[in-house]
Amino acid sequence: MSARAAAVGVLMRRRSWRWVEALPWVAAIAGFFLLPNYLQLGTQILVMILFALSLDLLLGYTGIVTLGHAAFFGLGAYTAGLLATGGWHEPLSGLVAAAAVAAALGLVAGFVILRTSGLALLMLGMAITLLLYEVANNLNGLTGGADGLSGVEIAPLLGRFGFDMYGRTSYLYALAVLFVAFLLVRAIVWAPFGRSLVGIRQNPARMQAMGVSVFARRLAVFVLSAGLAGLAGAVSAQTSQFASLDNLSFDLSGTVLLMLVLGGPGRLYGGFIGASVLMIAQDGLAKENPVFWLFWLGLFVILLVVFVPGGLLGLRARLGLGGRDG
């Protein structure tokens, strides 16, 4: 067997589905039946998982550290919300529109942001978020400004399933969107394009020398990631029937980063673990004192990054329990 065939064989084995990968989906469906009172929280968790998944493409696979991903989430949320308040209530086309608008901003912003590196890249990511924040805050006739965009009415899904007050439709809707997006991302990261992203993360100079256009690939994944973040924002706005300036905040960019890092970046499932753990903990601890929560969250991630680099999934791999690297 030639070396090439052997390498392809290893890759094909690593990309094949394994039974553990059914776990999160089984848990999500079980949650629907067993915890009917927590469907609202569950929907929020699913939204954050999708958001963290979009960041994982950028951060975990391509190695682009950004603190401005809320820009695309917020733009998606406002796009979906404004479509609905403007009279277009159909949800699926709203999702597509929001993702497209966010991806378009990703193309424009990425073109500038990705030419820089390090501190300048971090700063520009935050600047694009603040820029949108100023716009959303100032167009308060359109966006509701600091009060947020309320009155987002969504027509029944596929003309049949209404978004009821129990949140059942919302939960399954968010789960279905996440599942489709996940299939897409999983296919991408194991495709040659996705492998080249990992190569870029590990050694951009070498990838460039091999004839890969590093800038074009980074821009492509940036646009894709921005679109997925916009999708997450749109699901958030449609299921909560609300969009606000919080969707464009540094806190949101920081929190999704911490969720991904807690779970383990570059492993597809990092966001599933990080978002679930942090949001359930926050739901229990932060109700009474949100500032107190910030303290423990900060301390926790510092200890984590000092002692457990690679996140919880990385810990599993280090203990030899079969976690695999992307």
Partner: protein, 291 residues
């Protein structure tokens, strides 16, 4: 005449603001250039300086100068502890680890500040000597305190410039920024150099936070709210430099003040647009060196 006095007001206020930004952020430029650490929590040291000064003024009844000095010393000592316990573990870590650690610190700084000093902004009692204002051109006048900030900031800049160009410590810093291993090989104690520079950078931040408390309000989310402006000063000015950030701070301070006076409803919108245009043309900032 009207135009002239508006322009004078913008330049005077903007320059004073720029001096505060410069003093608070220049330490970040030098520590990042030297230690290669993305310390997003730099603003937390500035905030600590501001709160420590107000504490010294109000609780201990110190005079203004002594309170500022106390703030710098307290933050300097704390920063040495932080460097030894936490930051030194991150010098060789990935950028992601550094960012996550400093975001964690930022979140903690918000919580600690709110726990100790409450959520509302603290005001600063300025000494009698520095209150009042002097008339400038036309209707424009300059508060004495802002004039003091401009002179003081200019003096700090000259001191830092001379320090980095003319002293042995400055020579060691420049050597280590250019090539850390070569500097080590010719006998520079980089370990000691790192902690010294980190402490000096943090003390400058504390000084900026304390002196600037009048212009940049002391609230628990100070380190988050002003983070982008500190980063702009450093990223536009160039890493590891004391001159680049000075020019960047002047551009940002005056530009931001002009936006707020001429187009208040747009906020900092035009500042961010200008920033994108600038970094599209010069991705490494105004004075960034090519790697």
């Amino acid at each position: 005449m009207e135009l002239l006095s508006v322009a004078t007001g913008i330049v005077a206020t903007g320059t004073a603001y720029a001096m505060v930004l410069y003093i608070a952020a220049v330490g970040l430029s030098v520590t990042m250039g030297l230690l290669g650490i993305a310390n997003l929590a730099h603003g937390a040291f500035a905030m600590a300086g501001g709160y420590a000064m107000v504490w010294g003024l109000d609780r201990l009844g110190l005079s203004f100068g002594v309170a500022v000095l106390l703030a710098c010393v307290l933050v300097g000592v704390a920063s040495v502890v932080m460097e030894r316990v936490l930051y030194r573990r991150f010098y060789a870590r990935s950028e992601l680890d550094q960012v996550v650690m400093s975001v964690g610190l930022l979140f903690m700084s918000v919580a600690v500040a709110q726990f100790l000093f409450g959520p509302s902004p603290l005001s600063v009692r300025l000494p009698g000597l520095l209150t009042g204002s002097v008339p400038l051109v036309g209707d424009a006048s300059l508060p004495v305190y802002r004039g003091f900030l401009i002179l003081f900031g200019g003096a700090i800049f000259l001191l830092l410039w001379a320090g980095i160009e003319r002293t042995m410590l400055g020579a060691r810093i420049r050597a280590a920024v250019d090539n850390r291993f070569m500097a080590q090989a010719v006998g520079v104690n980089t370990d000691l150099l790192f902690v010294t520079v980190f402490a000096l950078g943090s003390m400058l931040a504390a000084l900026g936070g304390a002196l600037g408390a009048d212009m940049m309000a002391l609230t628990p989310d100070y380190a988050l709210a002003h983070l982008v402006y500190f980063m702009i000063v450093v990223a536009v000015g160039g890493l590891g430099s004391v001159r680049g950030p000075f020019v960047a701070a002047l551009l940002l301070g005056i530009g931001d003040t002009a936006c707020k006076i001429l187009a208040p409803q747009a906020g900092a919108f035009f500042v961010y647009v200008a920033l994108f245009v600038l970094l599209l043309a010069r991705p490494r900032g105004l004075f960034g060196r090519t790697a």
